[in-house]
């Protein structure tokens, strides 16, 4: 017993310590800063809620936070729709080149953010690959400006960036699905649609939800892609926070926005979890009876 407790401390201890120091401590510092305020060039440690009041009353910040959450949700939804069949095929229909496909899926992640973003700019830009091709085919006679620096371009590149996370989560769920379950359902009289709705969806729901939440969080936190691809439409709340910590030198307000955003994200995730618990899928995901 004693030995078991020691080894638990040894194995979990460092992880807990690292999490505390590297993750929670900075957040704690931010949290404390969010109650301070800036007086000309110095941060004054007087506790007040004025920063939060500013965030909640300012239309611009509210809009940016809502935009970030909505954007995260939309990208996650698009990623689900694309990734679901892809994950199914990789897990259930492909045998020989499975490892190669999964590696290919991850290759974009090996390259840096900026490299990927500039690659897309080369494709979508005014003189880019796509416009040149369309002009060459004669379909258009002037470059389409909206290919780059538009919300659509941002959406496209964000989906591309975070799709692998969605596919991986779903792929694991599909791998864990026992094919005999499908046979058993068909044996009992279920058609394809019934099998999809009553078996496949609920049983892959854990991977789907995990992947979607991951994509959601990553998209909300990504400000480089909207800034470099979205042009004028690419203003994000994270970008605003970065400005406040940089040029604008208002760390307390930046901290307050960051914490408001975090709270909003936690609220969204909590709402998703609570809603899902009420569905028949809840049993699979949260184990309860």
């Amino acid at each position: 017993m004693e030995g078991g407790r020691t080894s638990l401390a040894v194995t979990v201890g460092p992880v807990l310590a690292a999490l505390t120091v590297l993750c929670l401590a900075p957040l704690g510092v931010l949290f404390v800063y969010s109650f301070f305020h800036v007086d000309f060039v110095s941060i004054v440690p007087d506790l007040s809620l004025q920063n939060y009041a500013k965030v909640l009353t300012s239309g611009a910040y509210r809009y940016l936070i809502l935009k970030a959450l909505l954007n995260g949700a939309v990208i996650a939804a698009i990623a689900v729709v694309i990734a679901y069949p892809v994950a199914f095929f990789i897990a259930k229909r492909i045998r020989v080149v499975k490892a190669a496909l999964l590696t290919a899926l991850l290759i974009p992640l090996y390259t840096g953010d900026l490299v990927r973003i500039f690659a897309w700019r080369l494709i979508l830009g005014r003189e880019g690959v796509l416009n040149s091709f369309l002009i060459w085919t004669g379909l258009i006679d002037r470059p389409i400006e909206a290919l780059l620096f538009s919300p659509m371009a941002t959406t496209l590149v964000l989906v591309y960036n975070y799709l692998p996370f969605m596919v991986l989560g779903l792929w694991l769920s599909f791998e864990a699905l026992d094919d005999h379950l499908f046979e058993a359902a068909a044996d009992l009289g279920a058609g394809r649609t019934t099998i999809l709705v009553r078996l496949v969806l609920p049983l892959t729901a854990p991977g789907l939800v995990a992947g979607a939440l991951m994509v959601f969080a990553l998209v909300v936190g990504d400000f480089l892609t909207p800034q470099l691809i979205g042009g004028a439409s690419g203003v994000t709340v994270i970008g605003a926070i970065a400005d406040l910590f940089g040029a604008a030198f208002d760390w307390p307000l930046g901290s307050a926005i960051a914490w408001t955003l975090l709270a909003a994200m936690v609220a969204v995730v909590a709402a998703v979890v609570v809603l899902l618990r009420r569905t028949p899928w809840g049993n699979v995901m949260f184990g309860g009876g």
Partner: protein, 370 residues
């Protein structure tokens, strides 16, 4: 070897209407010929086992009947209607899978109700039939549990209840007891047989365990390498194996190989290393062919005047009697000896048997097995 299989005994049983008839059924997976033209017939209300070693094609046959494998050649009819164009979901056949394949996200009751909900039965009827089915397998108190909270035996019962709730014409069982421990397996065998009797339903049960087949079956179909070696009731399979393969797979018998000298009126004369033997023989046995004299340990008697002489090599105390291994020539014969004391190891004994109770099966085992 297939001569014996060509005229399925079940086809000739007059008082049972054929429920399922397979004719010349083939299955190929690329270069592998898993099922090589088998004929079989199952009657309503009977317990049939498909018995054979792993890879013999028995599970493939089951899956073709269930609709999970396509058929490469031949036909399968159910109640006189061709079955093969019907998708699995429309076949009046249900399966108990080897892995049980219970839906992990549904409760026991929801698992059992699955088939009924697809048929849009009313809420009350569904609940009633679910509780009946659970009662049938003695699981009525477990309806709210999840499959992962059940033991292997309990999961097995749920799988059974789920499969019978649609009242199929035929229940397919794919090695249903293989995941259970020995004691549980024995109990479930009795329950399966009892359930089959109470439901009056045809069961087709795939197994590699000959004891299980004997315990359960009205009809045993013995398979090897994609062909049916023999089909018949358990007593016939045990006492009158068609060929050396069946005799060996069923187990127990000593096989003495020899050349058939002549055959007349169902009795053959076999030239063996121990002299000539006269005994009733299987249909395929004919003069000039190789055949095997089957002597079960309980048929051999030590000390009686006989042509078989040998040296006692080993004795095993088995409680009620002794199992004595006698080395005779190149063969080792197992003899059941009910004397108080076993013969001394190393001593010479002679063995006798009643020729009319012995049996000559067609063919011989490959050398290295003997």
């Amino acid at each position: 070897m297939t001569d014996a299989a060509a005229s399925p005994t079940a086809l000739r049983e007059g008082n049972h209407a054929p429920l399922l008839v397979g004719r010349g059924v083939h299955k190929r997976y690329g270069a592998v010929h898993a099922v090589r033209g088998v004929d079989f017939a199952l009657s309503t209300d009977r317990y049939v086992t498909l018995l054979g070693p792993s890879g013999c094609g028995k599970t493939t046959i089951l899956r073709m009947i269930g609709g999970f494998e396509t058929v490469t050649g031949g036909s399968i009819e159910l109640d006189g209607q061709p079955l093969l164009d019907t998708p699995p979901s429309q076949r009046p056949v249900n399966t108990v899978f080897q892995s049980y394949a219970l839906f992990p996200h549904l409760s026991v009751a929801e698992n059992v109700a699955f088939g009924l909900t697809l048929r849009r039965r009313g809420r009350t009827e569904t609940a009633e039939r679910v509780s009946q089915a659970l009662q049938m397998v003695r699981m009525e108190s477990m309806g709210e549990r999840r499959p992962r909270e059940l033991s292997g035996g309990q999961q097995q019962r749920v799988a059974l209840a789920r499969a019978i709730i649609n009242r199929p014409r035929l229940l397919l069982l794919d090695e249903p007891l293989s995941a259970l421990d020995r004691k549980m397996r024995k109990e479930m065998q009795i329950e399966l047989k009892d359930l089959q009797r109470r439901l009056g339903l045809a069961f087709l049960h795939v197994t590699h365990d000959q004891e299980e087949a004997f315990a359960l079956s009205d009809l045993i179909i013995v398979m090897n390498h994609g062909v049916i070696e023999q089909q018949g009731d358990p007593e016939t399979i045990y006492r009158r194996p068609a060929n050396a393969y069946v005799a060996d797979f069923i187990g127990g018998s000593n096989l003495v190989e020899g050349q058939v000298v002549e055959r007349a009126a169902g009795v053959a004369t076999l030239e063996t290393p121990f002299g000539r033997a006269h005994a009733p023989c299987a249909p395929g046995v004919a003069a000039g062919r190789r055949a095997s004299l089957c002597l079960r340990p309980e048929q051999l008697v030590i000390g009686r005047e006989g042509s078989l002489g040998g040296i006692v090599r080993h004795t095993v105390f088995q409680g009620a009697d002794w199992l004595v291994e006698v080395a005779a020539g190149s063969a080792v014969l197992r003899v059941r000896c009910s004397d108080e004391a076993a013969p001394a190891i190393g001593g010479a004994v002679s063995l006798g048997y009643e020729p009319s109770k012995a049996w000559i099966a067609d063919g011989a085992l490959p050398r290295d097995v003997v």
